[in-house]
């Protein structure tokens, strides 16, 4: 038994299947539905809370309000058509979605990706991570501050920076949101002229802004009081639930797919770990800020050395059934801003995948809620939910 796994759990693990009738609190419990439409459930998640006064006794999350049957649709569409579908799963970082799916198809087909395409993929993934963490920081402060208050100010600042990055991607791929940038064998759009200067300007501005956010949030005594020691996850539970990305790195476990299974151009750059130890909300906040800085550093380091050459490793894709991998099975996982985003694809030799399962990190993050919420008051429910950074489009697929 490796030492890392079985560190003593911090708090006795809450029982998510507590029998309500057998609970003897002072009065009877109030059932509160933080329903699918709620200002701070980050999309359409419904939390059924049993409250004793204002303390949560039991929490049952209900998902599925955004289940769009993506896995069934992927079985109906060919390999080439499936990239735009997956864009809309994790709509805050759609490039990383495409990357996971496309790398799974490439592993099935076994084609080789040119070095320039790998560089472009890494830079886009890292800038997408910064944009996604910026949106998370904005909505996280909004959850804490309220619609007409301090939280909105941090929200506006973060979205102002995010617009800069969206301009960058609009210049590269023509779209603000769903880029359809990756394809089997390489990348669809090449870097326009002057794009690297634009990227350097944006990256310099944002790395100058991050201390401003810290000055406004982490040096603020109320913010620290609201986040220190709240929603602590212990290491064993985090691993059993399959948490990944910032959520598990905040618990002190250095599980980063960019380093353990380097893909795209991560083998040519050294990714420094962003770790914290307590595993509470403040640790996740710190890990995400450190990751933003790290991603900007990686993007700046790579942008100068982008090699010349083709951006497409196989013959260009003209028809819809151009990609026809041999029968087989492949699982590829990459490190999206929310954690390990995997695609398990089974192909039966035709131009349509036989089965395509996407492994969303948000679904695993949400499965931690029944363990984290008992014993916590309502304002902390909102803060813990925000700190896990779930995206319902990805969790519900």
């Amino acid at each position: 038994m490796n030492a890392l796994a079985l560190t003593p759990p911090i708090a006795p693990r809450a029982n998510p299947y507590l029998d309500i009738e057998s609970y003897e609190g002072q009065g009877d419990l109030m059932v509160l539905n933080m329903g699918p439409q709620h200002p701070s459930t980050h999309g359409v998640l419904r939390l059924k809370l049993w409250l004793d006064g204002e303390v949560v006794v039991k929490a049952v999350p209900y998902l599925g309000y955004l289940h769009r049957g993506v896995e069934k649709l992927l079985e109906k569409l060919t390999y080439v058509q499936s990239t735009p579908i997956v864009d809309k799963n994790d709509y805050v970082s759609s490039m990383t979605n495409e990357l996971a799916l496309v790398m799974a198809f490439e592993k099935l087909e076994g084609c080789e990706i040119p070095r320039r395409a790998r560089y472009i993929r890494t830079i886009c993934a890292e800038m997408q991570r910064v944009a996604s963490h910026l949106l998370w920081l904005g909505t996280f402060a909004l959850d804490m501050g309220g619609a007409l208050g301090g939280g909105t100010t941090a929200f506006m600042y973060c979205l102002r920076e995010r617009e800069r990055i969206l301009d960058l991607f609009e210049e590269l791929s023509g779209a603000r949101f769903h880029y359809h940038m990756m394809q089997v064998g390489g990348v669809r759009h090449d870097l326009p002229a002057g794009w690297d200067a634009h990227l350097k300007r944006v990256a310099a501005d944002i790395s100058a802004r991050i201390p401003e956010y810290e000055h406004m949030l982490s040096e603020n005594v109320i913010f620290r009081a609201r986040t220190r020691g709240v929603g602590r996850i212990d290491k064993l539970l985090a691993q059993e639930l399959g948490l990944s990305g910032p959520n598990i790195r905040a618990c002190g476990i250095d599980h980063d797919l960019r380093r353990s299974q380097p893909y795209a151009a991560y083998d040519e750059i050294e990714v420094r770990p962003a770790l914290a130890t307590e595993g509470d909300v403040y640790a996740r906040y710190q890990v995400r800020l450190a990751e933003m800085r790290e991603s900007l550093r990686i993007a700046l380091a790579l942008i100068d050395g982008v090699p010349a050459g083709p951006i497409m490793g196989r013959k260009p894709i003209e028809t819809v059934n151009a990609v026809k991998p041999p029968a087989g099975e492949a699982y590829v996982a990459i490190d999206s801003p929310r954690g390990e985003l995997g695609a398990w694809v089974v192909s039966d030799g035709s131009t349509k995948p036989y089965r395509c399962k996407l492994r969303p990190p948000s679904y695993h993050a949400l499965s931690a809620l029944p363990y984290l919420l008992p014993g916590v008051t309502i304002p902390d429910v909102v803060v813990i939910l925000g700190s896990l950074d779930p995206i319902m489009g990805e969790a519900d697929r």
Binding site: M30, L32, H38, P39, S40, E54, A141, L142, D143, M144, G145, G146, A147, L148, G149, G150, G151, T152, T153, M156, Y157, R160, M216, L217, N220, I222, F223, A225, R226, T377, I378, P379, D380, V381, V382
Partner: protein
């Protein structure tokens, strides 16, 4: 003393001040949205009239024509009375506020006691709205308001005691007179006045349910707290009551700690009124600044703040003020 009968005087002056305050509050809301816009790097209301000046009027008209919904099994009396009471209680404190020497609706000798009592009543409409609207979120908001009101009540009284001790009277006009000639309580006795002022600001922020203490009306977790079920003008009254309370809180702070209408220049009514309004607007802009910077506290953190930190420092400040008064008097005969 108009028409030398206090009742007529109070009636007319009260009418004038309340209607003026309604206009000032609606444009204070416009100013806050522009101010927050500038703070957040965006333009506030812009296209409704010149620079958005007609925006508060448009909001008021829209609230007038909205359908007036009372939830079916809501407590009808409490539900409909709460907004009216919210505005009434917020305006009540105006009665004792001296705008200029002699220009005060009711020059009570127990002015400080009166506005503390009116302040303590602000929790009643919040709870009535919370209980009356038969909505779980509003109920939680209402319960939080009650727990919160006990916590900030005592530090508010202690903070208001400091100017009473320093001025030796509870009549607000005499407190302002005692601060005449630049001896403002916030600065002149360096110890107690300044600390008492900070305490008063924190407690009045909590009393008016303003960020960072807007826990009963917490939009992000309680949908919109106590005013979840209110539509149209009833919600408008709640919104107005909150802003009137923050303006009146700022006016109270200037009266008690910044010398009310005292300022350089001759004691002409117009000049005194100008000084009073200038100081009040500066203080209310500072409160706005606080509102758009800080995040919200949890209710139990507010309790620990009030009971463990504000209360002892309030006692300390009162003792300091008393010692200052004791030693500054010449030895008793």
């Amino acid at each position: 003393m108009l028409f030398d009968s206090p009742v007529l005087h109070a009636l007319i002056l009260g009418l004038v001040i309340c209607s003026a305050l309604m206009g000032v509050t609606s444009y204070f809301i416009w100013f806050e949205r522009r101010f927050a816009g500038r703070m957040q790097g965006r333009i506030g209301p812009e296209h409704v009239g010149f620079k958005g000046l007609l925006q508060p009027i448009a909001d008021a008209f829209k609230l007038l024509i909205k359908e007036d919904i009372t939830p079916r099994n809501a407590d009808r009396v409490l539900f409909n009375l709460a907004p009216l009471l919210a505005v009434f209680v917020a305006l009540l404190t105006l009665a004792v506020l001296p705008l200029a020497s002699g220009l005060v609706i009711a020059d009570l000798d127990v002015g400080v006691l009166f506005f503390l009592a009116a302040g303590a009543m602000t929790v009643v409409p919040t709870w009535m709205a919370g209980w009356g609207s038969n909505n779980k979120y509003a109920l939680i908001g209402g319960m939080r308001a009650i727990a919160q009101s006990v916590a900030y009540g005592v530090p508010l009284v202690l903070a208001a005691l400091v100017p009473v001790i320093l001025a030796g009277s509870m009549n607000l006009s005499e407190i302002v007179a005692a601060q005449a000639g630049g001896h403002w309580f916030a600065f002149w006795p360096p110890g107690p006045g300044f600390l008492g002022g900070i305490l008063f600001v924190l407690a009045s922020l909590a009393e008016g349910n303003r960020i960072p203490f807007d826990i009963p009306e917490a939009e992000s977790e309680l949908v919109s707290g106590i005013s979840t079920e209110y539509t149209g003008m009833k919600f408008g009254l709640f919104y107005l009551g909150e802003y009137v309370h923050s303006l009146v809180g700022a006016a109270l702070f200037t009266t008690l700690f910044l010398g009310g209408f005292d300022g350089p220049g001759p004691d002409v009514l117009a000049l005194q009124l100008f000084w009073f309004l200038l100081k009040t607007s500066v203080v209310s802009v500072l409160l706005l600044w606080v509102r758009w910077t800080y995040v919200r506290l949890r209710s139990d953190q507010l309790m620990t703040l009030c009971w463990k930190y504000l209360l002892p420092s309030g006692l300390g400040v009162v003792v300091l003020a008393a010692m200052w008064v004791w030693f500054s008097q010449e030895a008793p005969a």
